[in-house]
Amino acid sequence: MKYLSAARAGMIGCHACGHVQVCDGSARGAQRAASPGHRQRCGRCAATLHRRQPDSITRTWALLIAAAILYIPANLLPVLHTTSLFGNEDDTIMSGVVYFWVSGDWPLAVIVFVASILVPMLKLSVLALLAWTTQRRSRWRPLERTQLYRIVERIGRWSMLDVFVVTLTVALVRFKSLAVITAGWGALAFACVVVLTMMAALQFDPRLIWDCADERSPHAFPREPKHD
């Protein structure tokens, strides 16, 4: 079986509405020559058409690096300050997991560990791997890489769990004399990490994986000479 991607066929599928149309500046769309700076718009929904997401790798890297930088304070700074009759306590994400584990709440400890530590690390490393391999035009296991991407994109949002737990805890434990809990800067850093990694995943165009694979794959249709 030979696979044809729309880019090779000189066509673009609109990312917004899904309408497939001829790409300006390709062999098929030669009647509408692409001029530099001209942005083709979808015939149905008027969204700007891109064959691939613009600057996908660059943007992904930028967002990933920012997220990685913020990941350090997210884990070092406390997310919760507890002021109680027994004194003051600061809790980081890791210490929260340890507390759950030690007090016997194994399911909670596992959930929080997976959501707040495992998932962000996974996202950072997988996205970095994908960006790296795509940048290097590697042909290594494209299917698995695409599946990885899909997994990472889907589970990314679940790291926000800790931020929600902090929000609710801060709002509930406000007993003036017994205990008062306030949020720490680690929560803000962590929220930023989650948002940045989600944006990085959205920016990464997984079709790029297959573009490189197509270069030398016997399964791909011969590539059309590009005119852009």
């Binding site: 066929a9 609109c14 899904g18 309408h19 497939v20 007993f175 003036k176 004399s177 017994l178």
Partner: protein, 556 residues
Amino acid sequence: MTSPQGPSPSSNGGPPQGPELPPDLPPDLPEPIATPRSGWLPSLVWLVPLVAALVGIALVAKSVIDRGPTITISFSTAEGLEPGKTKVKYKDVDIGSVKTIRLSRDHTRVLVSVQLTKEADDFAVEDTRFWIVRPRIGTSGVTGLGTLLSGAYIGVDAGRSHESQSDFVGLEKPPAVTGDQKGRRFSLHGASLGSIDIGSPVYYRRVQVGQVVGFALDRDGTGVSIDVFVDSPYDQYVGLDSRWWHASGVDLRLDSSGLKLNTQSLATVIIGGLAFQSPPGEAIGPEAPDDTVFRLAGNEGDAMRAPDGPPLTVVMNFNQSLRGLSVGATVDFRGIELGEVTAIGVQYDPKARNFTMPVTMNLYPDRLGRRFRESVEQGGEAAGKQLLRTLVAHGLRGQLRTGNLLTNQLYIALDLFPKAAPVAIDVGRSPLELPTVPNTLEELQVQVADIARKLDQIPFDQISKNLNGTLQSANSLFKQLDTQLAPQARDTLAAAERTFGAAQSTLQQDSPLQSDMHQALTQLTQTLQTLNALADYLERHPESLLRGKNKDPKQP
């Protein structure tokens, strides 16, 4: 929310159809993999939004219906209150919560708006009272400690009125007595507040049975009204005849009857208290109803005294120094306190040209006993005056006596002096004037003063001059004697010796002269013995100088 994998070709699958489709697509494009699925029932799904809407409406309706009235309570401070969180509790049940807290327009009070629950809407009536329960230290102890952990709340005392009200003024302290406490309130009227405060205990036989709930100065400023609350079942011991007194602090008195120290309990020493009891020997009598007014005495003795009846104002004129007599000194009749001195004055009598000291006093003839009172009452005022006249004729006089040798305080004693000079009194005058007799000590003083005066009159210096001259002449006489009289004297002595021999024989035998002398000596011994006994007796009973021997009708 999962989104499908990235941008993908049109949902139609396969090569698209449309105006822009290229005609020369290779014919063997791969087909998408189709997996068929079974469909679902669509129309029942409209139940879901219906149910959601109904649930929402039901919740909103329930919260609106559950809302009771909104009331506003004004406090002086909002310490401990949190909008949205602080609850209003009655008997530890939540009946409402604080919604908002804001300042009054003139910034003097804090207005707390409270939302009551539906069941509690009968709390929004006129005489409901609200206060903030916080940790407090007061005369009745430390209260509200639980709020340190659970946060302050607003306490309620349910009112029983039927008029609804929505603006309340909050109390700053929890009320001493809440509306549902059983017992009775009484009002006491006294001369001063003493050391009483709200919360001071009320004792019955040294058991605390109630507390003071309020006090106020009388409108005309002549006394203090104190409200007390006696818990049930002790309120049955308050009879119409019960006597109330200040049991506060330490009762220390130093007066003509000596030193007296009296306290109720250590608590009353610190915070003061009141006590009540029926007079000894009397039954409690019918129970006093709510709001009975009682008189509040200063101490137990004062309270337990039988009611005095109207006082009789009497004036006594004394001719001696009144130093040691103070206003309030007792007027005593044979040991019974008959009244007290109200005023001491001085008056110049132009006819007699000397000063008299009139002492005004209040006598309470009712203290002389029931029989006396009844017999006087039977006859009316005239009988009383006649009685007085008779008594004065019998020797009823007033006399100043020393009550306390230490402090030299005086008191006035009324007593019958049968040997006193008769005096006629005018019973018509007011205030009545009673005759007086001077003090026995005074008499002694007068006599000694007399003797001193007489001694003064003796011309001692003249006597000494005469004595000097006499001695000088005696000296010259003795010189003469020595030279002239000596030989004559020798002769005389020899003759005398012969005479003495004769006399000795006369005197030796039981001559009458000897026996006379013997008798005289015996009498002298007896007299000395009597004097000795008198001295002894005086040593043991020095007051007999003043009062005489107990059974002695004569005055010393």
